[in-house]
Amino acid sequence: MDLIKPNTRINFVGKMGKAVVLSTVLILISLGSLVYHKGPNWGVEFTGGTEIHIKLTKDVSIANIKKTLGDVGYPPDEVQRLGLQGDNEYLIRFSTELVKFDQIQTFQKKLESIMQSNAEFRGGSILRVDYIGPKVGKELIEKAIFSILLGCVGILIYVMIRFEFSFAIGAVLALVHDTIITIGAISITDKEFTLAIVAALLTVIGYSVNDTIIIFDRIRENMKRSEKPSFKEIVNEAVNQTLSRTILTAVTVFLVLVPLFLLGGSVIHDFAFTLLVGVIIGTYSSIFVASAIVIYWRKRKGKAA
């Protein structure tokens, strides 16, 4: 069975101008959202503070939770829904200034008694309590940024060794592109930026590079052939030759990510969301962005286009 008819020649390279516009718009929206939201919505792991994950038996409004907790002397910094609507799971967050480590126990006791007495909260349970001191948080942010940067450098070096410099630039800029837009999507939907999201981002980076490398690999193979069309044509042919694989793999990954997103539970939900967005953007960038950068870079360096 063929997904794409053999000898299909879609002019991807010709559409790269439009892709540049689209990517620029997406990046600007992402950066705009980050500026508007004053940076990512850092999870408690990064900012330090206390996070309490509860499950209630019915849907309670966020305002109501805030008010009820405020009434017993613990106004939370933020209350957020987790998972899907029917899960009735919430995340209550306090900054380190609001609730010190020693107070958590007292707060938990208060919360438990609310869950017995208050009609709206009755039957609820505390699923998880996280306390993170400010020192650890700062270190984790540094580590997260460092590991993403190091990931980029590692890939840059590997691609440089296996291919040539212009390809490495293409691969790395494409993954920077993917990372910014994926972070943008997290920011727009106002999801919490947690350690698990960092892991998801690194996976997206891995996926995006994986996708890009397969096209690059074909470009390199085509360049070795005896007949020498222009570099643009070689790129276009390679993208077309690998197109069915690109789409098929994206489909199989979707086949597992969508169940994970819908059925994986509240904790995995945002993680799966990040991967879904990342895979879409990663697939798009492998086709339109990475190769465009290689073409541009080679032209700038005076190599035949």
Partner: protein, 532 residues
């Protein structure tokens, strides 16, 4: 086309190994007794986020250890000089430096001699004017800090193990942290664990000089306004917690003749009124020192100071050598835990809790169930898709995928990787990514068929030409996974480990397992068309 016997054997061996390694995971306690003697009986470990439990990251104040070290040098030098009838003018500790001032050059020279004789191996000693400076050497500094964290770890280990919880794990994390994980601990255990860990448990025995209901009047009796100023009279002020309203504060001798280090045992006892108390025994030298202290102070009151608070202050009736007790307003539980921390020794430096995570058991169970469900749904969808799209070759890919999953679980078990929630997500993702290699190869085979190659030649060319494509694509992903493993902590490390193992096993399944199966299908046959 012949199938390679060597590879087939390899696949069979790995499959059998994986099954053996996974038996404990799936069968658990129903495994026969002889199994544990022949094979590993530990299956895949589940992380705290899946089992529920407590995760604590403790920061160790290793600066305090450096401070103690310098104070030790200061005290030793001062007492040595005292024997030489030399008085120290003043001393000051800052960071890793100790500066001592003297009244005359002759005094300084004597001090320099003592310093050179005793401390030249661990500190740079310098004198200028009338002062002497010790600067701890870098290597010794590292040593002091490491020793402090090792001691803290040892003490915490003793304490946590004595609580009798299941499988607590205590590890060093980085240069100055200790990670404590107690799977399956309940909410009730949580507070106990935290209390027990944070408690310094510094026990000192001093002699009471005075008591009073409030700080100011008590200090005024000694013509001072601040507690620190009592040091000149060799006295110290402590808050009291003896239950007596008129004895909210104590003034005691500053020298502690005997400390908790001399205890050989501590346990929960009940006093003559049936109240819970902690009874303790002294060992060796501690017993004779305590005997001496009590003998010289018959009629005086003994201050039992625990973590900077006078817990009880009994009047000394007679010389006591072997044992004593701490009474106070304890519940039996508190007295038991206090005895426990006294037995396991004092923390050499203060600690504080930098991170805590308590996961209720229901969240973990829920996560496992949902993870399993999404894995099954995703897996079935991929399997159906591959057969639908690639027919017989799709079936080959599915078979390879099934073995791949078996290998990954087997490896997770073999390497003792802790499976965390993001780890499960990583496994699900691997399921989707695993067939990528097959897709690359199959698409290539189709291309080769199109340019007119015979079916078997197309298979050869497809696998051959795709090898480096598959490798390149996976090595780059492996780089990011390894970096995550290197820098990640807790659940993230588990995710990275799962991903790394998944990538390696996947490449093997794509380029070896699927190939061997394909060869077996077509070997010694005349093939005119491929089902792909």
């Amino acid at each position: 086309m012949r199938a390679s016997k060597g590879w087939l054997l390899t696949i069979v061996v790995i499959t059998v190994l994986s099954v053996i390694l996974l038996m404990p995971t799936f069968l658990g306690d129903s495994l026969p007794g002889w199994w544990g003697k022949l094979f590993p009986d530990r299956g895949i470990r589940l992380g705290l986020d899946l089992r529920g439990g407590i995760f604590l990251l403790i920061g160790v104040d290793s600066d305090a250890a450096v401070d103690h070290e310098l104070t030790g040098i200061k005290d030793f030098t001062t007492s040595e000089l005292k024997n030489d009838k030399v008085l120290v003018k003043g001393a000051d500790i800052q960071g890793r430096d100790l500066t001592m001032q003297f009244f005359s050059k002759a005094d300084l020279d004597k001090a320099v001699k003592i310093a050179d004789d005793n401390y030249s191996d661990r500190a740079d000693i310098d004198d200028s004017g009338l002062s002497l400076t010790f600067v701890l050497k870098e290597s010794y500094l590292v040593d002091v800090r490491n020793r402090a964290i090792d001691q803290v770890k040892q003490v915490i280990e003793n304490r946590v193990h004595e609580l009798g919880l299941v499988e607590p794990s205590i590890q060093k994390a980085g240069a100055d942290r200790i990670l404590i994980q107690v799977p399956g601990a309940s909410e009730k255990d949580r507070q106990r664990i935290i209390d027990i860990i944070k408690r310094s448990a510094v026990l000192e025995f001093k002699i009471v000089k005075d008591t009073g209901p409030n700080e100011e009047t008590l200090l005024a009796k000694y013509n001072v306004t601040k507690p620190d100023e009592l040091a000149a009279q060799n006295l110290e002020l402590y808050p009291g917690d003896t239950g007596n309203e008129n004895e909210k504060y104590f003034i005691t001798t500053s020298e502690a003749h005997v400390t908790g280090e001399s205890l050989s045992d501590a346990r929960l006892i009940f006093d003559e009124f049936g109240r819970p108390a902690v009874g303790f025994n002294f060992k060796g030298e501690g017993a004779s020192k305590f005997g001496e202290l009590t003998e010289n102070n018959i009629g005086n009151r003994l201050a039992i100071v625990l973590d900077g608070t006078v817990k009880s202050a009994p009047t000394i009736q007679e010389r006591i050598t072997s044992q004593g007790r701490i009474t106070g307003s304890f519940t039996p539980e508190e007295a038991k835990d206090l005895a426990l921390v006294l037995r396991s020794g004092a923390l050499p430096v203060p600690v504080n809790i930098e991170q805590e995570r308590t996961v209720g058991p229901s969240l973990g169970k829920d996560s496992i169930e949902k993870g399993r469900l999404s894995m099954i749904v995703g897996g079935v969808l991929v399997i159906i898709f591959m057969v639908f799209f690639y027919r017989l070759q799709g079936l080959v890919a599915d078979l390879a995928l099934a073995l791949n999953m078996l290998f990954i679980m087997g490896f997770l078990s073999a390497f003792g990787v802790t499976l965390t929630l993001p780890g499960i997500a990583g496994l699900v993702l691997t399921l989707g990514m695993a067939v990528d290699g097959n897709i690359i190869i199959f698409e290539r085979i189709k291309e080769e068929l199109r340019v007119g190659k015979s079916p078997l030649a197309a298979i050869d060319a497809g696998y051959g030409r795709s090898l480096w494509t598959v490798l390149d694509a996976n090595i780059t992903t492996l780089i990011t996974a390894l970096i995550l493993f290197w820098f990640g902590t807790g659940p993230i490390k588990g995710f990275a480990a799962t991903l790394s193992i998944g990538i390696i096993s996947t490449v093997f399944s794509n380029v070896v397992v699927a190939r061997v199966f394909t060869n077996y299908i077509y070997q010694d046959k005349k093939v005119t068309a491929l089902s792909i």
